[in-house]
Structure formats: structure tokens, C-alpha cells
């Protein structure tokens, strides 16, 4: 039996480290020094982070006023079917004890409104909203067409149930002088919403454009889509910021949505000064029917979000646990080491 030449072998089977499974491996070897170092370092980091987060969260200010009960008379008025087109306003005065510095944001907050129901979320037509085809209402059941077979614009359950209270914040400098706090209705949405997901049919004359297509207003809506913002004609149609904010369905039944942000001019250049304020609310959105509640929220933000303490607390707890664990591990390790030493000495 003569040996075959060696080149056979090299030709047939590649001698690479991968194919021969001889790649270098690294196995984490948990030496006491490394592990304890990592643990202590992580613990310190988490504790610091937690404290910073808690401090910054506490530096934010937030005022929430639940007006479900305060404006109960309006709700009652609305429940009576004969008064459905009567406007009802209610005013809620409140006192701001300290001034709110920086950017102030105004939110409306709903309790018990299930915007995350499967059928509810599905009931919208992105094709319509992107301005491509007003008649694309296939996905909008049960709000597809009106009785005379014209498409509803905007169609679907989400659009139909849009939050339509008007909230106006005014500052009472003294008992007689009331200044309306200027609120901006722009940049409440994401860039992609404004420029990708929502588009009007054509930018020239919105009303004409919408009127040209025969369509119907959603059943709950008092006014058509092209007439949502009377002051700013560009903030109309599908590009209305309130509409876009509402159309982004919330993930939980209790949610708040951005309503406006403080226009920092003149009197309010530094934020909201302390003093008497009042909310003037035009009450349209019915919550008593589903035993929900609604409130209005004023809040400032910091670099890490709103005034939720959760993240800060979580960091602090984790840091503390890590430190405890590292002390425990150190103790165990030293004990075992002594034992081993004595064993070797024997």
C-alpha cells in the first residue's frame, strides 16, 4: 500500500480553522476580581443614574385637572338627544402656585378609552389619509359609506371618534383682565406623519378640492375635515395636527395626547408665571357613555421625559440590589477561599 501524495488531502479538504473547527475560542472565565469589579461599577452607575433621573423628574411640574365631574352639566345636556347640536362651555379656574419654567405642554388625558381594540385600530384607511384615493374605504367598517353611498372622509372608527373638545387656557392677571395664553398648534406631530403618512389631496384650495369629491362627514363630526382650524388654513384637511395626533392610536386605555404647546412670547417668554388661570372648555366629547373620564394636563419636560419617577426608581433599586449582591458574593468567595486554603494546608 503506497501512500498517496499529500496534495490529495489538501485539495479535497480545506485546512482552514473554520472547517476544522479549530477557531480560537474565548470563554468568559469568571474570576472573582473581574466579577466583583463589574458588579461594583454597575452598582455605582445605576445608583447615580437613578438619583439623577429622580431629581430631574421631580424638577418637572405637572398640573392635571379632571373636568369630567366639573363639567357634568354639559355631559347631562349632551345625553339628551334633542340637544346634540347645542354648544356647551364650562370654565375651570385654578391657581398656579409656582411658575412653570421653560416649554409648557398642554395635553388632554382620557381614562378608560380603549383605543387599542383590534377592530377599532383596523378601522382606518391609510390610502385615503395619504391623499391618494378618497374612495378607498374598504378597511373602514363600520364607517365606510354614508346612507347615500358616498364615501366618508375621513372614514373609520378612529377618525369618527376624534376628540373634539376645545380647550382654551387664559391667565387672569386680576379679576378683570384676562389674557388668553397663546398656544401653538404646530409641531405636535412627528415629521413622518406630516410629510409621509398624511397628505392632502392638493395644496391649492383645500375646501374646493374636498367639495369637488362627493363625500360625507363622519357621523360624529359637526364640521368637515377641511374646516378643522379656522385660523390657520394650512392646518386643515388630513394635515390637521389634532387629527394626526388622534389618529395615532394609544397603546393603553389611559392615555394623554398632546394638545398644544406654549407660545413663549411677551408675557410668557419664560414660561407660565404663577397666578390664577382658567380653562375654558367647549364640551363635545362624550365620556360618560363608556364610564370614562377626561382631564387636561399642563406639564414641563426635561431631557429624560416627563415627571414619571419609574425609571429613576428602577435604576436606584437595581443599583442597590447589585451592590448587595456584590457584597454577598464577596463574602461567599472569601469564605470558600479560606476553606480551600485550609484544605490544601492539611
Amino acid at each position: 500500500m503506497e501512500e498517496r501524495p499529500q496534495h490529495c488531502l489538501s485539495r479535497l479538504l480545506d485546512n482552514s480553522a473554520l472547517k476544522q473547527q479549530e477557531l480560537p475560542i474565548h470563554r468568559l472565565y469568571f474570576t472573582a476580581r473581574r466579577v466583583l469589579f463589574v458588579f461594583f461599577a454597575t452598582g455605582i452607575f445605576c445608583l447615580c443614574m437613578g438619583i439623577i433621573l429622580i431629581l430631574s423628574a421631580r424638577s418637572t411640574q405637572e398640573i392635571e385637572i379632571n373636568y369630567t365631574r366639573i363639567c357634568a352639566n354639559c355631559a347631562k345636556l349632551q345625553e339628551n338627544a334633542s340637544n346634540f347640536d347645542k354648544e356647551c362651555t364650562c370654565s375651570i379656574p385654578f391657581y398656579l402656585s409656582g411658575k412653570m419654567m421653560g416649554n409648557v405642554y398642554m395635553y388632554y388625558k382620557l381614562y378608560g378609552f380603549y383605543q387599542n381594540l383590534y377592530l377599532y385600530i383596523r378601522s382606518r384607511s391609510n390610502r385615503q389619509l395619504v391623499g391618494k384615493d378618497v374612495k378607498a374605504v374598504e378597511d373602514c367598517a363600520p364607517f365606510k359609506m354614508s346612507d347615500n353611498k358616498t364615501p366618508i372622509v375621513p372614514c373609520g372608527a378612529i377618525a369618527n371618534s376624534m376628540f373634539n373638545d376645545t380647550i382654551i387656557l387664559s391667565h387672569n392677571i386680576n379679576s378683570s383682565v384676562q389674557i388668553k395664553v397663546p398656544m401653538l398648534k404646530s409641531r405636535l406631530t412627528w415629521w413622518t406623519d406630516k410629510y409621509v403618512k398624511f397628505q392632502n389631496l392638493s395644496s391649492k384650495n383645500l375646501a374646493d378640492e374636498f367639495r369637488g369629491k362627493i363625500h360625507t362627514v363622519p357621523p360624529n363630526w359637526p364640521k368637515p375635515i377641511y374646516d378643522l382650524d379656522k385660523k390657520d388654513p394650512r392646518n386643515n384637511g388630513f394635515l390637521n395636527d389634532d387629527f394626526i395626533v388622534w389618529m395615532r392610536a394609544a397603546a393603553f386605555p389611559t392615555f394623554k395626547k398632546l394638545y398644544g404647546r406654549l407660545n413663549r412670547t411677551h408675557h410668557f417668554i419664560e414660561g407660565l408665571p404663577a397666578g390664577n388661570y382658567s380653562f375654558n372648555i367647549t364640551y363635545n366629547f362624550p365620556v360618560t357613555r363608556f364610564h370614562g373620564e377626561k382631564s387636561v394636563v399642563l406639564s414641563t419636560l426635561t431631557w429624560c421625559g416627563g415627571n414619571s419617577l419609574f425609571l429613576g426608581l428602577a435604576y436606584t433599586v437595581t443599583g442597590a440590589m447589585t451592590w448587595l449582591a456584590s457584597f454577598a458574593m464577596m463574602a461567599i468567595h472569601i469564605m470558600l477561599k479560606n476553606k480551600k486554603m485550609s484544605f490544601f494546608h492539611q
Binding site: M1, E3, R4, Q6, C8, L9, L12, L13, D14, N15, K19, Q20, Q21, F30, A32, V35, F39, T42, C46, M49, L53, G112, Y114, N116, L117, Y118, L119, S125, N126, V130, K132, D139, P142, F143, A157, N160, S161, W191, T192, D193, V196, K197, P219, A251, P253, P286, R289, F290, H291, W303, C304, G305, L311, A314, Y315, T318, T322, A325, I332, L336
Partner: protein, 1079 residues
């Protein structure tokens, strides 16, 4: 084969296709393929949907097509399902294509068939039952044939049956005398119109019953007249045969066993896991459905009015019912279909690692290891039982003359300068035989002392070698180059005669009456006076010759235990010395024979010869009288010495066996070879040792005896305290087995079990089966000898069924195919002549020793990796899916999903295929403005990722989650190494300490061992060849025999064939423990 009637007997008429067509016998085409083009799609789909997972996903798909409950779009399921099914189908199709190809290759082999009185080349598949075909030397036999005539006198022919039973000895077949007359006369053969009535197709290789009716007379047919498909014709220039069984009816195909779909234990575990998870899923679904009903009746009602949904349309219970199905669809990702695909892909990768492994590459023959099945890799790490063939797998089937002891002196050991025994290494210079023109070049002997003794003319040494050259059944032949070629019927004899030849005692030729040898250059012709043949009770063989000087001598060789009793008392000193030497040889696993001679005086021999002739002529008790006469003359022998022949093991067998048994893997040897040979190999590769407490040999001839022997062995094992009463009562079986597994643990000492084929046949019957299994599983080594291919498979099945153990079968020949197929994992040794074993196997490589790497490296790693992967996979899916469950509590159980799952499955595939780049590119595409512009309804999540990831808060949460998840694991690992270190931890620590101390010194383990075992006797010899030689029937006639040669040969010669037949049928029917002729 579909027959409308069950075949009770087969009637075949030669040369009459029309007549035979009536019976619709199968033709000679074989099908191992499963599909054809038309049946592929339906059959393959049917098979695939039988898998639980595929069926489950089909159901899911159907559910998703119902709009009321569909919470995910239908393509999330159909895309992966179609992908999986296509991949599997493509794989099945390629597999089947190769089967078709190999079928075609076999079916298209050419053979010469007698059609319309002419020999025509015909493809194998067109051969029909009843055809007469011509075979030539070294050709494969196309179908099961009735031998009609051959080129050798008296219709003899030689076949090699290695493909069938693994034995490489040549076997003799002979035609009926009436048909052998036909010779090669085509016109007479074409006129042959005999009718054969015989048994129906079956898988018994050593049995055939039939009757040939021709010319108004009937001749009974037995196995001796049949050549089976798969044999190779040897030393016979041509023969004619009539096809009895063709294609799927042949004994080879009947023995091949069914191909089973093999699955690994991980597969089974996965299936159970999937079932459990499915149950879990149902529970989740029910909880959420109940939640939905409650929510609908309490909150949803009020909310519904707000949303203008028709109140009467849905009751809360019905809504809950729908929600149940919706959640089943949403939560289906706990059992993701990609699991099955990913597992397959990982296994495929592991198979490539096996194929690429240079450490399993046999450079001499340029054969790499090959994983022929890609789905079984991790099972390799779980093997508990290995069933190994012997010939060709453990041994090379090469016998070499290693040592001898002549007149009390050992030759063949190599001593170094300090007179220490040393290993024979390549550097040692072998004895140079090249000066002798007749020497066999491959023979190597390392002790120069023997040559010197020969040169010095030591008479005992000369006598010893002369005996080796005279006392055997070898036939010689000169090939065209004038070289001597020996035709041996047992490789041991070949080794001995070749050794004598190389030392100058060259066996030249023989006639029925003489043997011519060349003694150190001078020709000498010995007269062969008597041939005292070998058989299994005598365990020896003798010749009586008259040498040229006129002296009569009896030369004898045989088992030492037998021969030592026949010695003359004057040999006592030499006997004890030789006996020591024999023990030493046997301890090294060599096959030994004792050698002795006797001088006879003329008068005594003449008297004896007369008595022998009388006995031969006798009609009553002929065999007993002859045996008595043999005993009479074979006494007062003078001991010459002993020979030791090595049955060469494959490289590295001992090391492999040792390390595998260290890994607690039990190795059983299943061989078609003889008991002695098998035991010998057991000792040679350390499976049997002298340290063993007991070796049980089961050799009963009927069920009762076998049971008794098993019981006795078991009692031995347990001592008398444990009483095994009713091992065969079926209802107690389970408890019994459980009990025994405890006993097995507590059992101390090593035991071995040796059982032969006939006993095994009885032992495999239902009531003794458990006794056998219990005993066998408690023994460290089990050797089954003389087993048929089907019995091999039965043994494997037995262990598989009752032990729940993972089994592996390894073999090289067609006789191992059924065993390879029935074991969990079958391994074929490639690089041998036949391909059947490799084709049937799951893995193939060239050397037994690669088994170690395959099991202990590849198997272990595959198992580790697969386990890690599965853990990760299930973890990932639970983490992902349970979010939906939790979210259900916040969204009114309305089956809304919290995360974008529509493309989750798809992303999953890509992720697992390792391409993070592809993952992100798809993610970005899906979140891109462009794709939203094209499909606003299908991809509504534009902007989500972009805006959330720009918030610092999100990153803080991610960081915190990471810390909170990683820290406990690190702490756990750290403490585990400290508190409960695993073996590998300890070893790693030890290695570190070693590295610091000093580099390890290399040690070479010594395999030599001393042994007290007495007999290493083994001799692969068959009875009957003595008569063959003395009758002269196998001598090739120098002149072509006359056509009517049969009448001219004298009476004595025809009786020889009858004797041979009689003996073989006797042995077969009486189930003697060592049946000599198996086919």
C-alpha cells in the same frame, strides 16, 4: 409486488417466458426509490403533513383565512410554511434522484442471457424468471440462480459471499450431475426445459428447498445448487444458471430490511415540547377568551355604543369564542415554524463539519468521511450501544504469520541490545526474502534468528516448515508471469503456507496422490497416502505422506488442547515449554495452532489403511468407524512447536474500543464468522480480557437448552441469593427491567457473553428474549457469532425496543445492511468493494477508529450546540409572545397586538441565518417612506422606530433591562463555579495549574499485556476440503475432459460429491453449533 393470489410455491420453467408470465413473478428490476415524477407531489406532501408541526401550521393557516378571527395577515404563516415544505421536498427529491440513479446503474448492468437459442447481452432489469444466463469470472451474480453447469469439472463453481454474510472464504457450489453435462453447449442449454418447483421468496440465506423435474425424473435441490444475487463468481471461468428468484424476490433484497425514517431523540423531545407548549397555548387562549367575555359584558357593552357597533350582533360569549381563536393565531409564535427550519440548517452545518474533517480523512485511499444523512448529528453524542461487524470493520481480513515456537524456542520476537522485548516498528529491518525468487513480497518477518536456524540446518526447524508446506488444503496455480499463486479456502492456511514458502519450503503443486514441494532449492515429491480431514469436533487435520526417502510420516496441526492429549509421553518438557509460549501468543490475541508429527512404520500403516478402506466401504456407522480410525493413528505424536497467526486488526481499533468503553458505550460484536475466530478477535481488541470474572458461552441447540444456559449464566452472575423465577412473564417485564437496571448499577466485576447464531435464533423467541437481554446488558462485552444479516437486525431491534437506548451499527458489507438500517444510526465503512453498506448508512468513513472522533467530538459538540440553540430559541419566543398575553389585559382582550408581528416570522428566518445586515436593511425598508407610499395599508408603522429611538428615555430603559438581565446570570455563573464546579470546570482549573507547573511529558501507552488464557486457537477452516483434494475433483484438468467424462471417472470420485452434500445438509439440519457450510 402485488399478487392477487398468495404465492404458496414457485413454479418456474426454464427457457419458457410465456409459461412463467402466467405467475406474474417479479422481474429483475429493483426499486429502492420512493417516488416517480407523477407520484412525487401527492406522496411527498402527504408524508410531510404527517409531521405534527406542518399539520399544525396548516390548521393555523386555515384559521387565519377566516376573517372574523384572523388577527394576523395570512401571509405570515403561508410564506414560512411554503418555504419549509419546499425545502424538504427539494431535499427528498434530490435524495430520491440519487436512489433512482443507483437503481438505474444496477438495473442497467449487462449480463449474457440465452434468448432464442442465442447468447445475447441484456440489461439486468430485463432478465426474467426462468431465463438461463451465463456468468463469467469475477462477475456479480444478477439474480438467484440454479446452477446448471460450469467450466470446472462436475459442475463445480466457487463463489464469494462477502456481500451476503461477510465471509471472504470461497464457497463451493455444484450443479446436479444431469445438468452439468450440458456444459457450454448453447443448443443443449436452449433445449433445457426443466421445471423447478420450490419455496416462495424468503430471506433465509442458508436454506433452499426445491425439486427439478426434467426428462421424466425428479431431482431434489438444496442450497448447494443455488447461487445468490450479490455473490461474486471466483476461480471459475464461466457458469450457466437458471433464474429462480429475480429482483425484489432475491434473498439479498429480502434481507435488506425496510428503510425507516430515522429521528433523533432531540426530535422526539421537541415534538413533546411542542405538544406541551401547544397545551400551554390553549390555556392562555382560554384565559384570554374568558377575560374577553367578562370585559365585553362589563366594559365593552358601553364602549360598543360609542363605537356604533351593533349590539345584537355579538353576545359576549360568542365574542370570547372568537377571541380564543384569534389569540391562538397571535400566540402561535411560541411554537414557531422557523424552529424546524433552523434546526435543519444547523444540522446541515454540522454535517459539513464532518465532511470537512481532516482527522477523519483516510489518506491512503483518499476517502473523506461523509455524513450521508444530515438530520442525525446530535444523536451521535447520545450513543449507548455500538453493534459492530467484525470482518472488514474491526479486522482487515488479512492473516499474517507472526510468531512460531519450534522445539521450545520462540521465533518472531524482536530483541534489542539489552535483550528486552521491543515493539515491532517500521524502523526495524525485516528479513530480506528478495534473494528467493519465489518469495511473496508482502510477507514480512522481523526475526533473523529463524533464517539462521534454517541455514544451520536445524532438523526440527526444517521438519516444522516442511509440515507447514505439506499439511494443508491449498491449491497452487501459476499465473501468466510464472509466479506461484495460492488459492486458499481459509486465510489462516494461506498465511502458514506463505510463511513456509518464504523460508524456503515452497509448496509447488499437488495431484490427488502427490504433493511437490521445493525444499531449500531442491524439488521433492511426497506421496500423499491419506488425508485426515478437519472438522469441528476433531479440531485438527493430518496428512500421511511417504517422503522421497521412503519413510511414512504423519503430519498434524490443530488446536493445542486437542493435540496435546495425543502426544507421546516423552514430550513432557517440550510440552510445558510450548504451552507457555502458546499462552504468550494467545495473550497477544494471536491465533495459534500446535504442530506435531509421527513416524509410522510401513506395516502398521498398511494395516491401518486396509481398515480405513473397509470402513469407507461400509454402509453402517461409516462416519463413526472412520473417526475411530483417525483417533487410532493420531497418537504418540511428537511435538514440533506452534504457530501464531495474527488476524490483523484495523488501525487503532484497540485504542478506539478502549476509549469508547471509557465513555460508557457498550460494544457488541455481531459477526457471521465462527465462534473461535470471534472470541479471538474479542481478546485481540481488548473487549475480552483475563480480568473478566466470567465469560458465558451460550451454545444450546434448542429453546430449552438455551433457556437453561441463560438461567445458569444469570445465576452465576447474581450468586445464589437472587432467584430469577419468571423472567418471561410479560406483565412482569417492565418491573423486571427496572429492577435489573438497579442491579446493573450494583453489579461488580466484568462479564462477557458469547452466543452463536442458532442459540440466538431460539433466544430471540418471545419468552427467552428478556432473559437474553437482561444477561447481555449486564455484560461488558457481547459477541454474537454465526449470525445471519436478519438476526443482526433483530438484535439491534431488541436493544432498541426494550432498553430505550440509542444504538449505532457499523459494518462494511451487504450483510450489515439490515443492521445499519434498523439501528438509530448506521455507519458504513467506505473504500471496500461493495457499496451496499455505505449506501444504506447514515455516515460513512474508511476506518473503524474514526468512530471515536465522530462520536466523542462531533456528536458531543453537535448535541451541545443543538441544546444551546433550543434553549435560546424557546426563551426568545416566550419572551416575545407573552408580551401579547400581558397586553391582552390592557386592550380589552381584543386580540390586538402590541408589537408589529406581521413580519416577525420572516425577520426571524433572516436573523437566524445570521445576517444582521439583511435584518437591518429590511427593517429600514419596511420603515421607509417609500414603501409606505406604495402600500399604505400593509406597512402602517412608518416612523415608529425612528421616533422612539431618538428618545433618550428608550435608551435608558434598554440599558436598565440589559443590566437587570445580565447581572443575575453573571452572579449565578460565578457562584456556581465556586460552589458546585462541574467536571470540566475542575479540569480547566487543573489544566491552568498544570500549565503553570510544566509542559506535560509525552507518554506512550504500551498495549502489550500478559495473559494466562490458554487457547487462542482459531481456524477459519471448513470441513470437506480434504476429500475434495484426495478425490482430485478440484484439480484443473490439463487436457479438456471428454464430453462424456462422467462415465469415465471412477466410482470413488462421484461418491465424494455425495459425501460433501450429505455432510453439509446434515450439519445444517442438526443445528450443530458450528455449521461449516453456511451457504
Amino acid at each position: 409486488m402485488f399478487c392477487f393470489m398468495v404465492e404458496v410455491e414457485r413454479i418456474v420453467k426454464a427457457n419458457d417466458r410465456e409459461y412463467n408470465e402466467k405467475f406474474q413473478y417479479a422481474d429483475n428490476r429493483i426499486h429502492t426509490s420512493k417516488y416517480n415524477i407523477l407520484t412525487f407531489l401527492p406522496i411527498n406532501l402527504f408524508e410531510q403533513f404527517q409531521r405534527v408541526a406542518n399539520a399544525y401550521f396548516l390548521c393555523l393557516l386555515i384559521l387565519q383565512l377566516i376573517p372574523e378571527i384572523s388577527s394576523l395577515t395570512w401571509f405570515t404563516t403561508i410564506v414560512p410554511l411554503v418555504l419549509v415544505i419546499t425545502m424538504t421536498a427539494v431535499k427528498d427529491a434530490t435524495d430520491d434522484y440519487f436512489r433512482h440513479k443507483s437503481d438505474n446503474q444496477v438495473n442497467n448492468r449487462q449480463s449474457e442471457v440465452l434468448i432464442n437459442s442465442k447468447l445475447q447481452n441484456e440489461k439486468w432489469m430485463n432478465v426474467k424468471v426462468g431465463d438461463i444466463i451465463k456468468l463469467e469470472n469475477n462477475q456479480f451474480v444478477a439474480a438467484d440462480l440454479l446452477l446448471l453447469s460450469s467450466s470446472e469439472p462436475h459442475g463445480l463453481c466457487y463463489v464469494e459471499t462477502a456481500e451476503l454474510d461477510g465471509e471472504t472464504n470461497l464457497k463451493v457450489r455444484h450443479a446436479l450431475s444431469v445438468t452439468s453435462e450440458l456444459g457450454a453447449d448453447i443448443s443443449r442449454l436452449a433445449g433445457f426445459d426443466g421445471i423447478v418447483v420450490c419455496e416462495v421468496p424468503n430471506n433465509k440465506l442458508d436454506k433452499f428447498m426445491g425439486i427439478l423435474s426434467w426428462k421424466d425424473s425428479k431431482h431434489s435441490l438444496n442450497n448447494e445448487k443455488i447461487i445468490l444475487r450479490g455473490c461474486i463468481l471466483r476461480n471459475t471461468s464461466w457458469c450457466f444458471g437458471m433464474v429462480i428468484f429475480a429482483g425484489p424476490d432475491t434473498k439479498l433484497m429480502q434481507n435488506s430490511g425496510k428503510t425507516k425514517f430515522k429521528r433523533t431523540s432531540i426530535d422526539r423531545l421537541m415534538n413533546t415540547l411542542v405538544l406541551w407548549i401547544f397545551g400551554f397555548l390553549i390555556c392562555l387562549g382560554i384565559i384570554l377568551a374568558i377575560g374577553n367575555s367578562i370585559w365585553e359584558s362589563q366594559t365593552g357593552d358601553q364602549f360598543r355604543t360609542f363605537l356604533f357597533w351593533n349590539e345584537g350582533e355579538k353576545s359576549s360569549v360568542f365574542s370570547g369564542f372568537l377571541t380564543f381563536w384569534s389569540y391562538i393565531i397571535i400566540l402561535n409564535t411560541v411554537v414557531p415554524i422557523s424552529l424546524y427550519v433552523s434546526v435543519e440548517v444547523i444540522r446541515l452545518g454540522h454535517s459539513y463539519f464532518i465532511n470537512w474533517d481532516r482527522k477523519m480523512y483516510y489518506s491512503r485511499k483518499a476517502i473523506p468521511a461523509e455524513a450521508r444523512t444530515t438530520t442525525l448529528n446530535e444523536e451521535l453524542g447520545q450513543i449507548e450501544y455500538i453493534f459492530s461487524d467484525k470482518t472488514g470493520t474491526l479486522t482487515q481480513n488479512i492473516m499474517t504469520f507472526k510468531r512460531c515456537s519450534i522445539n521450545g524456542r520462540i521465533y518472531g520476537e524482536v530483541h534489542d541490545d539489552l535483550d528486552q522485548k521491543t515493539e515491532i516498528t517500521q524502523e526495524k529491518e525485516p528479513v530480506d526474502f528478495s534473494v528467493k525468487s519465489q518469495a511473496d513480497r508482502e510477507f514480512q518477518f522481523f526475526d533473523h534468528n529463524l533464517m539462521e536456524s534454517i541455514k544451520m540446518g536445524d532438523p526440527k526447524v526444517h521438519e516444522f516448515l516442511r509440515l507447514l508446506a505439506l499439511c494443508h488444503t491449498v491449491m497452487s496455480e501459476e499465473n501468466s508471469a510464472g509466479e506461484l499463486i495460492y488459492q486458499v479456502q481459509s486465510p489462516d492456511e494461506g498465511a502458514l503456507v506463505t510463511a513456509a514458502r518464504n523460508f524456503g519450503f515452497i509448496f509447488k503443486s499437488r495431484t490427488p496422490e502427490t504433493i511437490t514441494i521445493e525444499e531449500l532449492g531442491t524439488l521433492a515429491t511426497y506421496q500423499l497416502l491419506a488425508f485426515l480431514d478437519f472438522n469441528n469436533t476433531r479440531k485438527r487435520m493430518s496428512v500421511i505422506v511417504r517422503n522421497p526417502e521412503g519413510q511414512i510420516k504423519l503430519y498434524s496441526k490443530g488446536a493445542d488442547t486437542i493435540l496435546f492429549e495425543k502426544l507421546h509421553p516423552s514430550n513432557e518438557v517440550l510440552l510445558s515449554l510450548t504451552s507457555d509460549h502458546l499462552s504468550e501468543f494467545a495473550g497477544e490475541g494471536l491465533r495459534t495452532l500446535a504442530i506435531a508429527y509421527r513416524d509410522l512404520d510401513d506395516k502398521y500403516f498398511k494395516e491401518w489403511h486396509k481398515m480405513l478402506e473397509d470402513a469407507n466401504a461400509a454402509t453402517e456407522e461409516r462416519d463413526e468407524r472412520i473417526a475411530g480410525l483417525y483417533e487410532e493413528i493420531e497418537r504418540d505424536l511428537m511435538l514440533l512447536g506452534a504457530t501464531a497467526v495474527e488476524d490483523k486488526l484495523q488501525e487503532g481499533v484497540i485504542e478506539t474500543v478502549t476509549s469508547l468503553s471509557l465513555a460508557n458505550i457498550k460494544i457488541w460484536v455481531l459477526t457471521g464468522d465462527k465462534q473461535e475466530t470471534a472470541i479471538n478477535i474479542g481478546y485481540a481488541c481488548n473487549m475480552l480480557t483475563d480480568d473478566m470474572n466470567d465469560v458465558f458461552v451460550i451454545a444450546g441447540n434448542n429453546a430449552v437448552e438455551v433457556r437453561e444456559e441463560l438461567r445458569k449464566a444469570k445465576q452465576n452472575l447474581f450468586g445464589q441469593n437472587r432467584n430469577f423465577s419468571n423472567g418471561h412473564v410479560v406483565c412482569e417485564k417492565k418491573q423486571q427491567l427496572e429492577l435489573d437496571s438497579i442491579v446493573e448499577e450494583t453489579l461488580t466485576g466484568d462479564y462477557a457473553l458469547i452466543i452463536n447464531g442458532h442459540s440466538l435464533a431460539h433466544a430471540l423467541e418471545s419468552d427467552v428474549k428478556n432473559d437474553l437481554l437482561e444477561l447481555a446488558c449486564m455484560c461488558k462485552t457481547v459477541i454474537c457469532c454465526r449470525v445471519t444479516p436478519l438476526q443482526k437486525a433483530q438484535v439491534v431491534e431488541l436493544v432498541k425496543k426494550y432498553r430505550n437506548a440509542v444504538t449505532l451499527a457499523i459494518g462494511d458489507g451487504a450483510n450489515d445492511v439490515s443492521m445499519i438500517k434498523s439501528a438509530h444510526i448506521g455507519i458504513g465503512i467506505s473504500g471496500q468493494e461493495g457499496l451496499q453498506a455505505v449506501l444504506a448508512s447514515d455516515y460513512s468513513f474508511a476506518q473503524f477508529r474514526y468512530l471515536q472522533r465522530l462520536l466523542l467530538v462531533h456528536g458531543r459538540w453537535s448535541y451541545f450546540r443543538m441544546c444551546k440553540f433550543l434553549c435560546y430559541f424557546f426563551y426568545k419566543n416566550f419572551a416575545f409572545t407573552l408580551v401579547h398575553f400581558w397586553f391582552g389585559f390592557f386592550c380589552g382582550f381584543s386580540a390586538q397586538i402590541a408589537l408589529d408581528t406581521s413580519y416577525w416570522t420572516f425577520i426571524n428566518h433572516v436573523f437566524i441565518w445570521g445576517s444582521i445586515a439583511i435584518y437591518f436593511s429590511i427593517l429600514f425598508t419596511m420603515h421607509s417612506n417609500g414603501i409606505f407610499g406604495i402600500f399604505p395599508n400593509q406597512f402602517p408603522f412608518v416612523g415608529n422606530a425612528r421616533h422612539s429611538l431618538t428618545q433618550k428615555c428608550i435608551w435608558l430603559v434598554i440599558l436598565l433591562t440589559t443590566v437587570a438581565s445580565v447581572m443575575p446570570v453573571v452572579a449565578f455563573r460565578f457562584l456556581k463555579v465556586d460552589l458546585y464546579p462541574t467536571l470540566s470546570d475542575q479540569i480547566r482549573r487543573w489544566q491552568k495549574a498544570q500549565k503553570k507547573a510544566r509542559p506535560p511529558s509525552s507518554r506512550r501507552p504500551r498495549t502489550r499485556r500478559s495473559s494466562s488464557r490458554r487457547s487462542g486457537y482459531a481456524f477459519a477452516h471448513q470441513e470437506g476440503y480434504g476429500e475434495l483434494i484426495t478425490s482430485g475433483k478440484n484439480m484443473r484438468a490439463k487436457n479438456p475432459p471428454p464430453t462424456s467424462g462422467l462415465e469415465k471417472t471412477h466410482y470413488n470420485s462421484t461418491s465424494w460429491i455425495e459425501n460433501l452434500c450429505k455432510k453439509t445438509t446434515d450439519t445444517v439440519s442438526s443445528f450443530s453449533q458450528d455449521k461449516t457450510v453456511k451457504l
